[in-house]
Symmetry: C2
Subunit: 469 residues, 2 copies
């Protein structure tokens, strides 16, 4: 069953991941404003008090929110990772918090193996496993390089990166190019099909896009504006990027056509972009990264700047605690499966793409994209209720990211660790699911939450920081 | 104020055209299922009885609905009107029911004048008015030629037409190419800007699109599928065609790039398509026309096959009464205005584009496109309520046109004259508004209904037909 088939046939809903809540909602139809039940809050009361009474908190969170909301995102270049972030030979970036080969899950190992083959550091899978196990390839999180990567997020020196710039706060952020769906490196596949595509992306797609993007240097594509329009077009920017991918194609195609390359290459580039409904994701993620990096290092702020998963651990960072990671075991999503795959085939949560929810879109803005329930599971009232509920965890609404069906209310934005602890609600993320066995590729899509443990650790650190400030 | 500005700034809502109803709704928030108030029904009880008791009715309406729902729509060619529908010299097609120059409104006159200039039948506005007033140019409705045209719908022999084919029922339908927004022929503008664009469309756009479309003859673009996807992407297919236009661009662009034409022309074609959010409308309209023409001439059926307006009169046709028109005075839409325009500047309702509502999308599917209220007026609850209410006027739901926010319920489809009379609800149409003075162009967009008189006349004819069957 293809992904297209999933959308056109009745969904086999395994679970929405919010079942107690959604049952209550179904009984009420779409009237989602008056749900009383809450999970118990968590956190040491003394810690919560220390954070709540920190005199810096209100102003710090205001600053964090202001910088986040003000951030822009322009597409300024496309360059190989080697050049633009100085990625050294025998170094690979990956999604989530820091990771060793020993602790890496199947799809992460698959992607790392595939990247070693792609870079020519190994000529067989066994050789690749050997150099990775021997520590001969350095591993480092994307987030440590102002970079984000969906799913395994494995980024190697020869891969081309979208280069985005925030004209307001002055930041930069990077992301590799989206490969499409199915058997792809980011889902842990590494076979010949994957290698052939990666080489074409290196030799044809990257150079053509680089020329096209540079030709618009006096009128760079406003990626934030595309993301805003997506929320009016049934996308939520994480697992629905249909309208965004089409808008990116519209913006790029006149410049692509003008690139000095064989017309067969030009047509192939347009077909590749047009055939990938998630093409925009790798532009949306660095857009969110720019906004959240602008809010880094604001002492006293309890706002999240990162939620990210490496397939083994889920890690978060806060504006008040700099580059420290607070981690816990990654949960396994529940949702809808492709073909004959089922829950036992799914790897735990993986990818930097939860940066979308950290920014307030994706799972936080599912009300904008009711059709997504046919892809990630749940019902339309669930989608509306999720957005409503996320407003309880967030510091503000993003007026640039207005959701029509909610009366144009802005997306719930700026996750507050303190509100998460007090309400006991955890952030709602929607996500692709990689097969747990290396080489499998995508097995489905679903809903997942961070482990509470991340937030408990962040609370302790924020409290400690408040007491010693 | 540009159209873009309209969407990003607070709307000045003049009226929703359903004010009594929407006031009641606002008091209830978004809970739209339990509204009791109904307008009084209409029609001679004896006529209603004759129609209701016609033994052919149930089967006839079932056949009409089956053909309508089964109809497909493939883009098979792009050809000049002269060739494909045999449009003769000194003949112009127009929207709506039959019309004379004497009864033509300002924008219709403007478009007819502009077409005479474009075809070289006159070299000044005065000359064009003179030959039109003298009856030296034959006028005929688009609908009499399996053709539809938005707004004035004026179609001249040298204009290129989209040629669509229904692979199920075997029909064909045609529509000219969309010019974009603002000062355009279909809105009654005819100045040099309009003429220059029409010549470019004749000399560059048409030939390039013809080559591109023909190169896909073994894999024609499935336009019905695009329309279905639009309803999942915030479009309703009449006044929001953003996602549809992007999907059309995606489907066409690889073939456009391969056309043997100067690369500057190719880039200009891609920019023209990419710059027009209503580009798809002229593909959606013949798609609806194909489905409704498939339901023509079914004795005993009370289903509408046409709703159309010429700027002076509104006309409808039914499946049970063949090609007969039932007309009444066109109403003036109420909605939102561009720039300094206001209600006094608006011409009465004009265009064949109400074929979208006749098919069940457009105003009937506004729940799929809540953002449209920033363009045509009204509130988000109004949009949901309108779709809900239209189910009371229709014979079926179109499963191919599913609306996610309504729990994927199909669009209300197949307007039943008998249900309209019994409920007293009139079909809800959303529409562009042309300036009432020839040459003005677009002044806004809004909501409008047909005059009840059309339905009263259709009822009489259907009753007469039932009695004599």
């Amino acid at each position: 069953m293809s992904l297209g088939g999933l959308l056109s046939s009745p969904p086999a809903i395994v679970s929405a991941g919010v079942d107690v809540f959604s049952d209550a909602l179904r009984a009420q139809g779409a009237e989602v404003h008056d749900v009383d039940w809450r999970p118990p809050g968590f956190g040491d009361p003394a810690d919560l008090s220390a954070i709540a009474l920190d005199p810096r908190r209100a102003a710090a969170n205001r600053t964090a929110v202001e910088r986040l909301l003000a951030a822009g995102s322009e597409l300024v270049d496309v360059r190989p990772a080697r050049d633009v972030i100085g990625l050294a030979d025998r170094t690979l970036l990956h999604s989530g918090p820091p990771l060793s080969w020993e602790m890496a899950s199947g799809p992460m190992r698959g992607a790392l193996i595939g990247a070693c083959l792609f870079e020519g550091w190994a000529s067989t899978v066994e050789e690749a496993e050997a150099i990775l196990a021997a520590g001969e390839v350095a591993l480092d999180p994307c987030h440590h390089h102002r970079t984000v990567g969906p799913m395994a997020g494995v980024t190697s020196p020869s891969m081309w990166l979208w280069c985005l710039s925030d004209p307001v706060n002055g930041g930069q952020a990077f992301c590799n190019l989206n490969e499409g769906l199915g058997k792809v490196l980011r889902m842990g596949a590494f076979n010949q099909e994957v290698q052939t595509r990666l080489r074409w992306m290196r030799d044809v797609l990257g150079p053509v896009l680089a020329d096209a993007v540079r030709s618009r240097s006096d009128d760079p594509i406003d990626v934030k504006s595309i993301l805003a329009q997506m929320l009016q077009m049934g996308d939520e920017g994480h697992n629905r990027n249909r309208a965004g991918s089409l808008m990116a194609l519209r913006e790029l195609s006149p410049a692509v056509v003008a690139v000095d390359a064989p017309s067969s290459d030009i047509a192939a580039v347009l077909k590749f972009i047009g055939g990938n409904e998630h093409f925009f994701l790798n532009l949306g993620m660095p857009t969110a990264k720019l906004a959240l990096d602008a809010a880094r290092n604001i002492p006293g702020s309890t706002m999240l700047t990162v939620m990210s998963r490496n397939g083994t651990e889920f890690g978060i960072q806060t504006a008040g605690t700099g580059d420290r990671w607070f981690t816990g075991p990654a949960q396994t999503p529940v949702g809808l499966f492709l073909g004959n795959f089922g829950p036992d085939d799914a790897n735990p949560d993986i990818g930097d793409s939860a940066i979308m929810e950290t920014y307030g879109v994706g799972g936080f803005s599912m009300a904008a994209a009711p059709a997504i329930v046919r892809f990630v599971g749940g019902s339309v009232p669930d989608a509306l209720a999720t957005t409503e509920r996320m407003h309880q965890l967030t510091l503000t609404e993003n007026p640039a990211m207005a959701i029509p069906i909610m009366g144009f209310r802005g997306a719930p934005t700026g996750i507050d660790v303190l509100k998460v602890a007090r309400t006991g609600w955890l952030p709602q993320i929607n996500t692709g699911m990689a097969g747990r066995v290396a080489g499998t590729g995508q097995v489905g899509a679903g809903l997942v939450q961070p482990p509470q443990e991340c937030f408990e650790k962040a609370l302790q650190a924020l409290a400690e920081e408040s007491r010693t400030a």
